[in-house]
Subunit: 422 residues, 2 copies
Amino acid sequence: MSETNTNVMHTLDSEDPLNRYRDLFFHGNSDLIYLDGNSLGRLPRATMNHMRSIVADQWGDDLIRGWGKHWMGLQSKVGNKIAKLIGADEGEVIVADSTTINLYRLALAAMLYQKQHHRTRIVTDNLNFPSDVYVFEGITDIIKGSRVDIIPSADNISGPVNDLSKALDDHTALLSLSHTVFKSGYTYDMTEITAQAHDAGALILWDLSHSVGALPVDLKKSRADLAVGCCYKYLNGGPGAPAFLYVRKELQQKLSNPTTGWFSQNKMFEMELEYDPAATIRRFTSGTPPVLAVSAIEPSLDIFLEVGMDAIRKKSLGLTDLFIGLFDQHLAQLGFELNSPRKHKYRGSHISVGHEEGWRINQSLIQEMNVLPDFRPPNNIRFGFTPLYTSYVDVYTAVMRLRQVVTEKLYEKYSEEKSEVT
Amino acid sequence: MSETNTNVMHTLDSEDPLNRYRDLFFHGNSDLIYLDGNSLGRLPRATMNHMRSIVADQWGDDLIRGWGKHWMGLQSKVGNKIAKLIGADEGEVIVADSTTINLYRLALAAMLYQKQHHRTRIVTDNLNFPSDVYVFEGITDIIKGSRVDIIPSADNISGPVNDLSKALDDHTALLSLSHTVFKSGYTYDMTEITAQAHDAGALILWDLSHSVGALPVDLKKSRADLAVGCCYKYLNGGPGAPAFLYVRKELQQKLSNPTTGWFSQNKMFEMELEYDPAATIRRFTSGTPPVLAVSAIEPSLDIFLEVGMDAIRKKSLGLTDLFIGLFDQHLAQLGFELNSPRKHKYRGSHISVGHEEGWRINQSLIQEMNVLPDFRPPNNIRFGFTPLYTSYVDVYTAVMRLRQVVTEKLYEKYSEEKSEVT
């Protein structure tokens, strides 16, 4: 690292208003450059004490009384904090289950609702999480005559990647997309795409897993119908943290939750055999929530609410602009390709870089360079830039080490075989 | 408490081989007599340190590498420990989601499978959890032409409560029951009922929520097809702990999981858009599991495996026999009714006692007598006897205080209005 550049980076960090939040996260004794917070966010220090208290005081001491004292409204309490990050109103967001189960539940609810209007198609695209597509395929096995259409996308991800409006017709029940897609970070214009869905008479369901906590989301302004999202990526809720779901207020009484349960029942403690759905967002949940895991999400959300999504976006673009600038200067000539949008409008907070030796280069970064991104097929090294705890020095150092791995051919000692992590 | 009786109880405790396990659980500074471990089990002391390590070391230090190091097989690892408590083989049980989601997933899978054989009825009984019935009702809204039949039960719960065989016909797809029912603790003969279902050509799905960890369950011997169960009751997995599901090996390739997801995909990290279900029990899961909550289940299971279910059952019957003996001696003449089976064969590890002032008596026990059972409509006080940390002195003391609440009319100062805990 040249001294001049180092100084520039340190200046950027010292002038960064978010710099002081870095220490709110646990870094251990390691100087690891962690660029995978888009996959599993770092542990907030406050969460450590919070969990000690949840386990010992709430569970250990309060025992069953914990439900009345702490846990009965927990899913909504945490959901309402998330609502503020995604432009939703109080009572429109609740934490429950996994992203996959929430997606299944809302997509199936939408399909059953739309079936009355002879709409039986789910439209998605090939940039979506494969797991989201599996969910839709599962649903079409249940609803006779329904089907999924996966719209292909252009390779050039710096502008609009596809014309979804052409794929929407009067048989389309539901359009469902990742707002920010998992590989490239390409980010759809939520207002524009939502309008296209509505123009065709379809409902829209956004997967916010890679945009919540990464960039401002405004569900209300974009008039989105349904959304789900993940709490263990940018939101730092812990490994496999329970997810959230959003149902626009006006739709809440129109849709029926197919995965009925005790927690979606109106008067839970009367324990009547007849199902009577709650009138609130609780009607879209099912069983007893995993309290320890739901609780772990909260301390991080308080940091987000203090900082605000505009400041986070500003820092995010600062980090990704720096990365792309360094890419052009140092990486482009080494066989790397930028597989993420250059335009701010379409950019998320993670960047994918392709290289024919992507797998081995990623191994080298992790094993000997103390830089931790992740790998996504076929050849992408994916770098997540989490504004709350990633510094400009981190970005610069990571690029310099990435360059070194290639110029010094350090990757050659790693196996080309891609291991399945199981 | 008379001195003689006290001495007898202390002798019972000192001769109890499970007595030493009591201190493995967190009791705080309180001398609370906790008789609701069938609703939320106590915190094992080992779980406190375990959770500190999961949060700080596994999440905080290992970050995304935690998946490869610890978490990828966690659901099966914990599931295989549960398998040993319920007579299942390795690879037949996995921890995932909530009991409700697991019930939904397996019941729907069974219904879709049976639909090919023109079987469209779900049969259950009115002793089942209302939430289980909600799930079945939800499923019949999805599968055209299907329906739920809720078989009524006799009031006398000391012998067989109903003749299910009459309710099963060649349109029956699935019989689903709580093995030990939530109100009275009535416990079905699993082998006998399973045979009845099979004789009618139906599949059977057992909800083990109130029997797992309470009494020996032998799924293999009883030839059960499917089961789900809860980890936060007798298993002490923490509030809202993720649940488990069981699919008999021979059925695993025949049934399709309708709630497909990343974790049910065969080669997860190839991230192909096409769904290819895993060949293992993992095929019945969906999304990323809540690691913190799944991890919290494990320390308690190790205690169960050390003690063994036969010793637990022996102690359980000791506790409930004592309770029923004291009931006959002290409570029967005070307007109390025993709403649980007297016969060992049909008895679970919790006992319900009815009283027309049940609600207020329960309030008095909790508020001023330091005894914590729970209340189940219309008028039951439900006492859970968890063999690992309930002593004979606890049982005796609880009954004496219960008697005192009635003889001294202490309950009269409490409101008759049943509050909804929300």
